[in-house]
């Protein structure tokens, strides 16, 4: 039986932290060490992840400040106030495009991963489709439920990552981590770019802070949310280099996944530990691609006010599926990742500068004035 008058569902400040953290921790973590090791010497990459993380923290702080200046206002409404409606719609469209690409990219990557390690006979399309259907099922529920889902999965994610870090610790060789601080400036800049890309998931605060009733702590929670992956990324990178050394990491497609294969769990209870961690990876990818999907839906419902949510979902999902099927091989996927990294970073910095300056010029307007 339905509620008589279902109250509008709000989320808490703290939910933002979980959402940000689980959105940032995505499939990117699996190949991040490869990109970083590519440009750096030995374990110097941690420095670039640190730099990338700090930049992400600053950007995230700005973004959350901008969004929480307009409590209970959707992105479209405060963006139209700041930069006029047509520009706001163009921004929305760009974000929709970006999130659709992210969502389909994540789905494709998990299919690649399972194809690589779990079953090579099942066609990749079936794997993708099954995953997409689950994402659609989640997206068709309420938005607050998506946040609850993030919170429910968060212990699994953190627990899995902690296991991933602890089990291979015995295989770490100190000589792999040496020498230190040998990387040149160019390598550091390139490495930082790759790392920063891995942190970009915080951009969701721009759209989700409007769901918080009183976003007093939203900024703090965003920063905390970025800190979780920040620590995990650095530690996982160091462990990864420590186990494999820079050269090997550089040449493994999913170095972090290989890491879980290195594990010899006590008593060999399960022959392959990586399959346990595969559960965690699926969940990690699921939350990221779900949030990306949901933001695309959210923005589309803002632009096309009279269209039903389900219609939008049903239009979006085939598009995402086709996009996910588009690249034919690893090389293409790699190229796409590179393009995505540069465009996303440029775009988010552009948005922060644009909205930030306009906010400084125009000041805040409350909900009633608009």
């Amino acid at each position: 039986m339905k509620m008589n008058k279902a109250p509008a569902e709000f989320i808490n400040d703290r939910d933002i932290m979980f959402a940000v953290a689980s959105n940032i921790i995505s499939i990117t973590i699996l190949f991040l060490p490869r990109y970083v090791a590519n440009n750096t010497i030995a374990a110097d990459g941690w420095l670039t992840i640190l730099l990338g993380g700090v930049i992400a923290l600053i950007l995230g702080w700005f973004l959350a400040k901008i969004a929480s200046a307009f409590p209970n206002q959707s992105f479209l409404s405060f963006a139209s106030y700041l930069v006029s409606k047509p520009v706001a719609i163009i921004l929305c469209m760009a974000f929709i495009l970006q999130y659709v690409v992210i969502s389909s990219f994540q789905i494709r990557e998990i299919a690649t991963l399972s194809h690589e390690y779990l079953f090579d006979r099942t066609p990749i399309e079936v794997v993708c489709l099954a995953f997409l259907l689950v994402v659609v099922y989640a997206a068709s529920g309420s938005r607050a439920a998506i946040f609850r889902l993030n919170i429910m999965f968060f212990p699994f994610v953190v627990g899995g990552l902690v296991l991933l870090i602890f089990f291979p610790l015995g295989a770490v060789k100190l000589e792999n981590l040496l020498p230190v601080f040998e990387t040149d400036l160019k390598g550091i800049v390139l490495g930082t770019t790759s790392s920063l890309h891995a942190f970009l998931g915080f951009s969701i605060v721009l759209f989700y802070i409007s769901l918080i009733k009183k976003p007093q702590q939203a900024t703090k929670m965003t920063v905390l949310g970025i800190l979780w992956p920040f620590f995990f990324y650095i530690i996982i990178f160091i462990v990864c280099i420590g186990v494999f050394g820079n050269e090997t990491t550089n040449n493994l497609y999913y170095p972090v996944f290989e890491l879980s294969k290195k594990v010899s769990n006590p008593g060999n209870f399960i022959e392959r530990f990586d399959s346990i961690l595969f559960i965690i990876w699926t969940i990690i990818v699921f939350t990221t691609s779900l949030i990306a999907f949901d933001i695309a839906v959210l923005l589309l419902t803002l632009i096309f006010k009279n269209t039903k949510k389900m219609t939008i979902i049903f239009i979006l999902s085939p598009i995402i599926f086709l996009l996910a099927m588009l690249p034919t091989n690893y090389i293409e996927i790699n190229k796409i990742i590179k393009y995505m990294a540069y465009t996303e970073i440029t775009f988010i910095i552009f948005v922060i500068l644009l909205l930030g300056t306009m906010l400084l010029i125009k000041g805040v307007k409350t909900n009633d004035q608009i």
Binding site: M1, K2, M3, N4, A6, P7, I11, N12, R14, D15, F18, S114, L118, F119, T122, V126, V127, A130, F131, V134, Y137, A138, G141, S142, A144, A145, I146, F147, R148, L149, N150, I151, M152, F153, N268, F269, I270, E271, R272, S275, F278, I279, T282, I283, F286
Partner: protein, 501 residues
């Protein structure tokens, strides 16, 4: 109810006519007893009516009939008032001129006294008769804890609850359900502990209930639950008064339906279905272990057979090598794929379980022996299934019984088939997707508007110490009400004593 569209019928000033009207309404039923006699010095006629078997005979004879008959005094005041106020030695007494309410009272086991030249009937609460005595709850037995369970009688049940909770703020509101059965239903909550909005919502939903008869509270539960497509029970049923009392203090609302020994508790979360009241009676470390065990059982019930199917048919490389050899050897003679094997055994088990519940107790033992042999040995020897599959399925069955709520356990047993099919199609990956889907469903599910996945999500760290683990009792007493059920501060202050609904 059938006359509800017309004007309510009132009694006349004529005794004979009134008796006839009531008799006619009840169709001259054989169990309707009418006793006529006279009262007072001037011999005022009166008639006493009741339904045999529904009343307490002692009370009717000693406290009503004898007093009225033996009274030969001169009554100077109004006869009705004299009888009503002075003579009858019963505590429950009412007056009513309406035929409908008199009939309803008679059907409830009350006695109606009609006086000559009066258009009102006196209704006396004499309901009694034979009832099942209070016994140990069958579906929720405990080793350490109270032995009393609810019975079919609403009065007894409410008394049991009052005995547990001697709190003046305990509110009990009556409602009626069942077009034909006219059963009473009690809505219990504690003022200041329960959220008024939730109480209102429950009452609103109960008002929409439109059924002829509710043999058990399960009818009410299914009518008012949030989602009838969910395998998870969104309303908790319990036979234990102590569990109801504890949960009322936690801010929940209880519903007790006449004729049902199962009380309903709402709103609940997934954690509530995994708790037993015995957790609080044992020392905290033991209870904590048991709670963790139940979480393990929860996932085991859902995924163990599926996991076996996935491992055997998709990922044999994940099984330790020696075990793999054993499995391969035992699967040698089995003609079916592991899906069919799992389905056969699961079906066997479900049939046995159903037969075990329905059969008379004396034959039940036979079923146990036959089932044990058929499933355990012969099926394996005959080469239909592998021993490991038998282990997987029977472990699931046993794991399901560690869950303290039967409604939850049978829901999980249904979902387990879904997991088996997913494992057949997509192996481990399929199981993970089912795992995610179940959590999506849990996140979307609500119980009377409260997220079912609380206190995990929305996250209330403080309450988790009473869900995942059972922290020492000294740390649990500080906060009684669950955080998501806590009423707003002002409401509690301004509305402290008076009822809301």
């Amino acid at each position: 109810m059938s006359r509800s569209s017309n004007e309510p019928i009132h009694l006349e000033k004529n005794l004979e006519m009134n008796v006839e009207t009531i008799k006619k309404t009840l169709g001259n039923s054989a169990d309707l007893i009418v006793r006529k006699s006279s009262i007072g010095m001037i011999e005022n006629q009166f008639a006493m009516m009741y339904l045999k078997g529904l009343v307490d005979d002692d009370q009717v004879n000693n406290n009503i009939l004898r007093i009225l008959e033996l009274n030969k005094k001169d009554i100077t005041t109004n006869l009705l008032d004299a009888v009503y106020d002075e003579m009858i030695a019963l505590t429950e007494i009412k007056k009513s001129p309406e035929l409908d309410s008199i009939i309803k009272a008679l059907l409830n086991g009350d006695t109606a006294v009609l006086l000559s030249d009066e258009n009102q009937a006196i209704l006396l609460g004499t309901s009694g008769g034979e009832f099942r005595s209070i016994e140990e709850p069958q579906s929720e037995s405990v080793i350490r804890g109270s032995r009393s369970g609810f019975v079919e009688n609403l009065k007894f049940n409410l008394a049991l609850l009052r005995r547990e909770l001697k709190n003046p703020n305990l509110r009990i509101d009556f409602m009626e359900i069942g077009k034909h059965s006219n059963q009473k239903m009690a809505i219990c909550y504690i003022e200041g502990h329960a959220k008024p909005e939730i109480v209102d919502e429950v009452v609103r939903r109960l008002k929409t209930v439109d059924i002829d008869f509710s043999p058990d509270s399960g009818f009410v539960e299914q009518w008012i639950e949030d989602s009838n497509l969910s395998p998870f029970p969104q309303i908790l049923d319990t036979e234990r008064p102590d569990r109801v009392a504890y949960n009322l203090l936690r801010g929940k609302i209880g519903i007790i339906v006449e004729g049902s020994p199962f009380a309903l508790l709402m709103p609940i979360t997934i954690g509530d279905s995994l708790k037993t009241i015995e957790d609080y009676n044992q020392r905290w470390m033991i209870s904590t272990m048991l709670r963790l065990l139940r979480f393990v059982s929860f996932y085991m019930t859902l995924f163990l057979p599926a996991l076996y199917v996935a491992l055997v048919s998709y990922h044999p490389e994940l099984i330790p090598t020696q075990l793999l050899f054993t499995i391969a050897a035992s699967r040698e003679g089995v003609p079916f794929p592991s899906l069919i094997e799992a389905l056969i055994i699961a079906l066997f088990y479900e049939i046995l379980q159903e037969a075990g519940t329905r059969l008379p107790r004396k034959i039940g033992q036979t079923i146990g022996i036959v089932g044990g042999i058929v499933i355990g040995e012969i099926a394996v020897q005959a080469g239909i299934v592998t021993p490991l599959m038998v282990i997987a399925i029977s472990l699931t069955a046993i794991a399901a019984f560690t869950l303290p709520n039967y409604s939850l356990a049978i829901g999980l047993r249904v979902m387990r088939f879904g997991a088996i099919f997913a494992a057949t199609i997509l192996g481990l990956y399929g199981i993970i997707l089912v795992f995610i889907m179940i959590h999506i469903h849990l996140a979307n599910l609500k119980s009377i508007g409260i997220p079912y996945s609380a206190p995990f999500a929305p996250n209330y760290l403080g309450d988790l110490k009473n869900v995942i683990i059972r922290a020492p009792i000294t740390t649990l007493t500080k906060q009684q009400t669950q955080p998501f059920l806590e009423p707003a501060e002002e409401v509690e202050k301004t509305n402290g004593g008076s009822g809301t609904s």
